[in-house]
Symmetry: D3
Subunit: 295 residues, 6 copies
């Protein structure tokens, strides 16, 4: 008897009950102000992930060593951002309540707010590790407070001063940089100070939410994003940063702003797939239970 066509990110085909990491996709980009397309990001990563291997020669472990579940894309309402955020929050609640680690695939950066709202309920002292080209600290954008350009400002309203650690930021208006100097731990342009930040979070055993806007990368290595900004970091630098956080108390994570159609070579999508594989493996490496011990 023929089986139905289950499609997951490569190597993430565990059963939900066995999984300790759960992927969920938020195909939403309604507030994107420049070039939309991030809505297609999570599906593209799933479809194109068979172009990469499950094995990482960097970490010498394999996605198939662990139990990861891919719950697919949610069906989100375009045109009603608050509804979409509520759906994301609810999905994240379920995953957290089942004692699993939620990893969100965007979608535009606003989707992070849904996940952070959920995580914050469970971990009110959560800190946010934020990789991005943009400060995302506007109070409103064209009169709208639920915009990708405001997402870190909204997160700040939840977690408060000194809880948001921003890296690679190289674009914003003057007000955002002023706000950052008073309220967040912003590192301009690159990764300077990253080691210190990680060490502090490690020492404090702080619960950490990791949000990676893929436009933190330089456009040369990641063309497929709506507001690419020259002067970013390389994939190798980002991977090294990801390896460094393996020991932290990560309670949630996301990878956002892949807009596949903007890079017709398809390489941005496969690069995002590689980054996700390494992120999943870095998260599993420290605390994950090998599949052989689960099933």
């Amino acid at each position: 008897m023929l089986k139905p066509n289950i499609e997951t990110f490569i190597g993430c085909d565990a059963q939900y009950k066995d999984a300790n990491i759960v992927l969920y996709g938020a195909p939403f980009d309604s507030t994107t102000s420049y070039r939309p397309g991030a809505r297609f990001g999570p599906a593209a990563m799933r479809h194109e992930s068979y172009a990469i291997e499950t094995y990482s020669p960097y970490l010498d472990i394999d996605l198939t060593d662990y139990c990861i579940f891919d719950s697919g894309d949610m069906e989100l309402s375009f045109g009603k951002s608050e509804d979409a955020l509520a759906d994301i929050e609810q999905r994240c609640d379920v995953i957290l309540n089942d004692g699993k680690l939620p990893v969100l695939l965007g979608g535009e950066h606003l989707v992070t707010l849904g996940a952070v709202r959920s995580v914050y309920k469970k971990y009110p002292n959560v800190s946010i590790l934020h990789f991005d080209a943009h400060a995302d600290l506007r109070d409103d954008y064209l009169n709208c407070r639920l915009s990708h350009a405001c997402v870190m400002r909204r997160c700040h309203e939840l977690v408060g001063d000194g809880r948001i650690h921003q890296f690679c930021i190289r674009s914003g208006d003057r007000e955002e940089f002023k706000f950052a100097s008073e309220h967040t731990n912003m590192h301009r342009f690159g990764l300077e100070g990253f080691g210190d930040t990680v060490k502090r979070l490690y020492d404090d055993k702080t619960p950490v939410y990791l949000t990676v806007d893929l436009d933190c990368l330089d456009p040369s290595c990641f063309a497929g994003t709506g507001t690419a900004e020259a002067g970013g970091i390389s994939v190798t630098e980002l991977l090294n940063a990801i390896y460094a956080i393996g020991g932290l108390n990560i309670v949630g994570a996301d990878l956002v702003e892949l807009a596949p159609v903007l890079d017709l070579s398809g390489n941005s999508t496969t690069t995002a797939c590689k980054i996700l594989r390494e992120l999943l493996l870095a998260l599993e490496k420290e605390t994950g239970i090998k599949k052989e011990n689960v099933i």
Copy 2:
């Protein structure tokens, strides 16, 4: 002394006070559920319009014979559809109140609702002439009632039964076709019955709002739209329909759903420009005052 760089649709460089037709652009596509990009439609038409001539060999008149003003694109909020619609309505109010004919360039089809709300205030007995591949008659779409997929349903709530004349419709769910059979004057697939409809509107001197979703065209001649649907009409058929409405009492019009980036050849944009030129000339031909008699 050097002059500032004024950019208009070709041949539409009259002063506002002299103009009898006013163009306004609504670069909005937040509720687009499939492939976005219509937000770039009106700017692309303006930029690429210099690829066509101002003269029409079909009508033997020239855009430069008349006074048309291009007011550029509005700055609309992404993520707050109701706000965007209010801005469109207000711009249309201004144009109507100054006794001029408003011609809206979209953007996704939802923008039509802003214009129809404005026109309806001035002309409560307005009829709508609607060219589209899609019925756009859903009551809500993914729980959202302000969606491009619902725009004609919202218009129906304003103008009532028998006032919406739909042509070229070849996609929708079963409910929409059922709704149409009871509440609108829908013509499936093509232009059958168009002549009769026009004759009736002419005889009754009904005020008419014309809304042209460019996906009424077959994808072979118009690839650059978010939800192209095989089986549409040709450009020549659309132009002939436009020439036919020249004698009607048109009180507002729009051209929507050009998504330039989806047709990398650029031909959809130049085709939209040609259609707009012919539409403007068809509107001017009957009632427009020649520039020589204005200035």
Copy 3:
């Protein structure tokens, strides 16, 4: 508990046991001599099918009225055509043996041979209804006999003279046209004689295998195929032909040669989806059992 991510062609989410039509994908294009890419055809149709409706206003029925099962893509070996054909034949055997109708999504046209081998075992008197721009009647192509350019010649070796009915053929070498004049029922350029052929097949109750190479369509309405050839039929003509075969004794069918990446607008993929929907509904309309009577 979150569910796994099942991905099917839109509206084809029945259980296998209830289904009377079964889709299966053959992502193979190793012998494509010009522009490859058809391997991505079936996955693209599945992914992009949510851009169309499940309801057909042409037939006034809906995919969700019936039980259709999508078994996804097979994993086929590139570089070993005979192995790939054996896999396809085996999958088709299973479906036929379970009393269901197999509908194959290619892939290049060679994949048809796997299905025809299977069907021929069960129905030795099968006829083939063949829509294509190319005769595909070469004995070998660059010394290779298992090539997309030879597929109908290989089928002829199975089914024999007068059993292959070819339409829309407008390309081939002189030998192929000579072969056709002696061994097949070839109709050049378009659909002339189609009604007669259908009538004969209907009257004889002949078991019919339907193979649609999408390059039978004109490149203007279907750019996304590896060897598009000017002078083809329109989508409407193809749909009407498909509606006409609804009453035949169809025992297997395929839709091949969509190469999604060759049409960056995406419209070829959505057009292929629409054609597949109409084909499935045309097949169901006559003999399909409504879902309400099955489950």
Copy 4:
């Protein structure tokens, strides 16, 4: 011993001395005012011609039946239009003086002037058969008299009134249409009157230069040209027109304005190849000597 890599249009590999038709390419588009790229037309046709067959099922003859020589692309100076035209004229002189029929592949339409100057020297009573979307009758364009937009005006200065027969014209400024009404035999929009014109040219045994601007075609079937204009003819209509001229006294011909990169599907290039094959065969059919009788 290995042989050098000779590249010709498919089936045009005769020796120069045996050939009765000679192809020559003019990769020039310096005066293109909108979207350049026609410079790559002739090379693309040569490279991609292996995607079509040498055999025509329409005419039932084969390019390999005849002796055609492809002399490749000239090296033309960008930035000096007069020099480029002189080079084209000289190449055409050589071919004509050797008693062969020159067929020019553009490039932008200005290149036609070089060939017409050459042909006019040998046939002062030459008529021009002109397929185009544009009148090309401006006296100057942005102060430049050697522009693609002026090429027929320059030709008119050579051949005089009533000698230029224009078809499919649907764009130009008012002055051009006025000029045409007084000086050329212009047919707007399509092919109305084509049969009569051909009959007259046939009866008078007039030497005819044929110039085909491929933008006479509708953009739906030919996207790859710099100034595509909706409302054109189909490929089948153009082919039928080409077949009709087979009996005329053709003394030179060209095919211009393919800009391959503007149609990323590649279909415009293969369509141009098919049109060239049919044109060459139509020219050979009447008067060509079969290869078997030559070598």
Copy 5:
């Protein structure tokens, strides 16, 4: 009353009389020998500039702090290079005579010659700072002396030996490199020696014309240019070079060879916008008068 649609580079909306920097666009690429498209560069930068911010976190100043005027694109004749150069020279004369700093947006590199001719009249001792992948020192190119490949040779005829300082040069023929070794101050491959050159120009208070061919950048970070050449510098290196020249006596500048359509991701255009913003701010930082002191 509605206002006309003025389109400028972002933040460059001062009045001409108040401005101390004036932008002017030269949409010309007629002598481009390989892939054209630079004609669309200045318009694309203007259109897409709203994708970047007006504020620079690198320099901590904002375009809106200063008075910059954007005079739009000139209408240049294709096919007559000398005329186009004369138009550019005249526009530059006007700006210089009004005591303002001209910043030219290309177009191909030949446009620089028009500006240098103008600047040279006012500053006969001007030096040229030249960033480029190509030497541009041919005496003629395919018999044409007014070609992008000859522009620095033509400039050398004006300013003489030792006045042209070339950086990042990694392509040319043997003669050009020989010429450079005798007549210009050429630095191969990268920026070695840049600091020394800047220091000397600073100490001598030499009037400097800055010409940036964007293909000095590596293709990885700037794909959108007609003759990209591997081995170039990064955006960060170019920005640092630009910051270094802030203190020089810059009397004119240009940014050339963006060909937007060659980078379908759009990132080359936004990168060019960022480089222009930083260049304008670097020029303003030292000597510009803040808007608050002007108006």
Copy 6:
């Protein structure tokens, strides 16, 4: 008398008898498992090579100084890998037997096996210098042993342990890395240890076959390849490695896996052309005889 159109890689127009290096193209990609297109690599390099110069400012020599012959593309059978490999081996045999150095242009990486089989017959102690992102050491791939993913495994069966020196490898399954640790000299990620390897090969005067899979480069500088993998080396690093091997006893070489259509900017093709030029010059520099001494 007009000459036939010979097309070669730029500057490689010697006669075969005079040449000491011979180029041959293998347009084959039938076993490509992800994105095909490498079949068009060698033709694209030939066509686009006129975009680069023949002179290298890096080495200060010129392709026109030497005698190189380009024998064009072979006509290979799609669908029969073993036949294609036999054709490649035979062509390489001819070149080697005539005492010339064969340089193969792919095509997918499997084509290397044909050349290595030929070289191995003449030089049984040959070593292989291998640049690649992928280990290519699978024993079979989807049951096929003649696959691009197995090519180095097949080569290992010929040349044996310790004879294959791999660099830049950053993808593969766990088994491949295990195999490498036991049987090949693999260097992960980059070029660490390259100098030592070259020194040893130099000291031992080992005959060396050089195979460069262009996906050893980072996708940022080489997007046009079927399975690009982030984390690769830069063009400058690859060129420096190529310069370093100039003194080795190179007995054969190839450059494979350029898939031109995957990089629509065209820059991957021109970069491949530059790498080939530098490779040819590096090979000629040590041992090549200048043309002036040959002819």
